[in-house]
Symmetry: D2
Subunit: 215 residues, 4 copies
């Protein structure tokens, strides 16, 4: 049976939950066409997070990898376009590490583009009534680190596989404690991801609609 | 039997739905203690909206009135503190009227404060995991008009009744079409309103916690 | 000779400066038509701030009073439409007082509207190339307190005088220390205020253009 | 004599001015240490903009290249960290072209990092009282295109030269016509750039302070 690997991250930054894992674990064993979801919870730790993800990829040899992460302050599900080869931590990770301007892979390419059909996935989510957008930056913390590590590995994979990173807003219960912060209910994110996963499975070549930013 | 009156507003500003009415109608006939919810859908029309609300108040003689409205662009459920005696419409209402700097009630007071226990209601919503806040302005469009009209009437009511206005964010399906706009799922808003209504029924005198704004 | 009274506030909230006073003191003795500017620096203290302002009004018997204050987080010069009869302090004032939901004037009206020709003043500022807008809330801290106290006093004045409150953004040097905060240079604010003061002096009855907010 | 090349862009998106060129032309012939500023106004056109910039680089063989651009909606001077190999235009350029997901250089690297000492430059601007920050995305429009084209060329330059891209906010006169938009006065941006240029000239190896984003 084919596998879709969906990962979330443990809580960080003094949060009790991480919406990315709350979402991912609800998709465990879910069927999409002839593929089934496997999940993995990643530590919020530079280095280790990418290692764990790659181990899961090696075990499952999935046809699709969606790594999820929390984006406090964003109001929409964000499909990341690009991961860059830099760690620059504004806050410490869960092991207390706070690298500054350090390459993720020494000598690696400056960036990798997501290999997901981003525009088709966003369009499917919006059609499903879920706020979604392409994002031009995954930041420079553990989320970007995970995405870069994943795409660096997949670039050398010897089976057909597509992967990328998706940021999700705070849960309502998190935003309740943050003045001004937007949020999204688990059920809304799940409805969006279901539509996005089907779009990813059914789209060979991405559609040509803009998802750009002027600045 | 005692009544809680909850009103919503019809869609406006080219929207297909108005979350305030989507929420209100799901509370129809709901029981809270020994009180039952009655609902009313108001037109998005200066003058008429307040008249319809007052008619419903006269018919039901409720102990609690919650007038709901849509606040596109806000990320939290907002309990309005004050309504001001002015109509200043940035867009036309649903009858094409666009008053500028016109008093709602000629010779009326400059403002009315909500008679709801706002701080207790916000605290209950946050405890229920729902993003909520006190808001210092209901704008100058039909929502503020409705709130002012309601409080002007209730100030003269000859039975014990408390009332006020609550703004709710876009639904996810609305925000999906608005770049950058935050949203809140119906189920999240409902969970918050249930907690807020119980707090309103159980709070005689509001609690002393800040809900202010520096500017 | 006629007088225009312009007041600023001392620094608060751990800031080294308050842009409202930096602006006001640069207008000291400036001529506008046959009127000259007098200034006054108010303490950021509930009660005392309004007392000092009223003392200055009594001394100068100005034809125009512009009370200025700092609005960290706002990007435009904001002409406040209304002051409400409530103190609700999110942070302590400079005497350590932090009132919650306390009327400014016990038994006073719920609100006072600015008696400035707001729309004409905003239009003049925008024509001068300065970002400006009508604001529907002055908050519930010392700025709103000052505005309410001023308008409560002016409502009983026995000479022709108009007054109101204007919020100004952080100075660039303040915003440099606040992630994401917008700012405005002193010279830009001054150019705007000069245009606004001339408009106030030359406008008997305000113009009819919208300055409203939908929510 | 040594040269610092500073470029701006012509107006686009229905604007009458572009702050990047208003700033750049005021720096024309300015001296910094033993170097003098040369300037160039670039068209807001995919392809052509990068060609013109590279021509100017070839002519001047500068030791430092600062390409400036307008970032409507941003409140701080933004030093861009990275340019990505994609054009995805949300609006047409000034020749009416609107590419979607098209590589800037077919077969080129996914991204280039700025070769400016970003952290030292931001620190110098903040010390000068000018709001500034590192930005993790230059968007996917002509600004990112220019930055990628510049860095692709400089990567092969046979003389010591550093370069990158800096986004500046709207001018106050532009923001006056955009509800909610922050702005920055020309004099403030100039003060910041002077400090940043001196820091760039005096910093061999960038300082280790965070300029990262969590998401």
């Amino acid at each position: 049976m084919k596998t879709i690997l969906i990962t979330g991250i443990e809580p960080f930054d003094n949060q009790a939950v991480n919406p990315s894992w709350e979402i991912a674990r609800q998709l465990q064993r879910r069927q999409f066409g002839d593929a089934q979801v496997a999940t993995c919870r990643l530590p919020c730790v530079f280095g280790l997070a990418a290692e764990r993800l790659i181990e899961a990829v090696v075990v499952h040899r999935p046809l699709l990898v969606l790594a999820l992460g929390q984006a406090g302050g964003r109001s929409k599900v964000s499909l990341e376009r690009v991961a860059i080869n830099i760690d620059d931590a504004r806050i410490p990770d869960n092991h207390g590490e706070q690298p500054i301007d350090r390459p993720i892979i020494s000598g690696g390419p400056a960036a990798y583009f997501s290999t997901l059909p981003l525009k088709a996935m966003v369009q499917a989510m919006v059609k499903a009534g879920v706020p979604a957008e392409v994002s031009q930056t995954a930041g420079t913390f553990v989320c970007n680190h995970i995405m870069y590590g994943l795409l660096h590995f997949l670039a050398r994979a010897d089976w057909p596989v597509r992967g990328g990173f998706i940021h999700v807003p705070y849960l309502p219960s998190q935003a309740a404690a943050h003045p001004g912060a937007p949020s999204m209910a688990t059920a809304t994110v799940l409805a969006g991801l279901e539509a996005a996963i089907m779009a990813a499975l059914n789209t060979e070549r991405d559609i040509a609609v803009t998802g750009g930013a002027v600045s």
